[in-house]
Symmetry: C2
Subunit: 106 residues, 2 copies
């Protein structure tokens, strides 16, 4: 992904009693996202949290999803139509995600 692109990072914080279905997330939710956004979506990636860096520390986030767009306008247009994607969240997790919009610097 290139400098200047817009990145949406969706972070799912770990905590007691929270679950995350990574299989559904990767195979169903991200497929839904990709189909829905079409060529507006320039890239996508997913990570599974393993650990923090302190010895024996849990990962702060169960999962992180990343989506890339050419511009803020392209992202905002996608977001304005994303109700279906938001509605899918309860199908794979009871975690309330944290959303960040960023500019790729390098």
């Amino acid at each position: 992904m290139k400098k200047g692109m817009i990145k949406l990072t969706v972070l799912y914080p770990n905590s007691e009693g929270k679950t995350f279905n990574m299989d559904y997330y990767c195979n169903k939710h991200m497929a839904l996202t990709s189909n829905f956004l079409g060529k507006t979506l320039k890239g996508m990636s997913v990570e599974r949290g393993i650990a923090g860096v302190a010895p024996n520390s849990p990962a702060p986030y169960a999962a992180i999803g990343n989506m890339y767009f050419d511009s803020l306008e392209a992202f905002q247009k996608a977001l304005s139509q994303a109700d279906q994607l938001m509605a899918d969240i309860p199908n794979f997790t009871n975690i309330e995600p944290v959303f960040q919009i960023s500019e790729v610097m390098m």
Copy 2:
């Protein structure tokens, strides 16, 4: 970056009174990191937080740095020698970062 790789995500939470020097981070700190880790580091990226998705919401994180490794062993070896990199943090921010080790799923 490929499925199965190990990713270190360093997140710098935004809050009142916190500062982050993105210029130093990209041009000095990441260069120091790249030189220090050499070919153990398989990829690197940086994002600057712009906003949250709720209208007029600030970005949860001022910046996010990402580093990729071939394996957990490679990452842990790099981490064990990273005192010099950790010591550089106060040179660009007064934010205490959050560290996550993840597996790349897709």
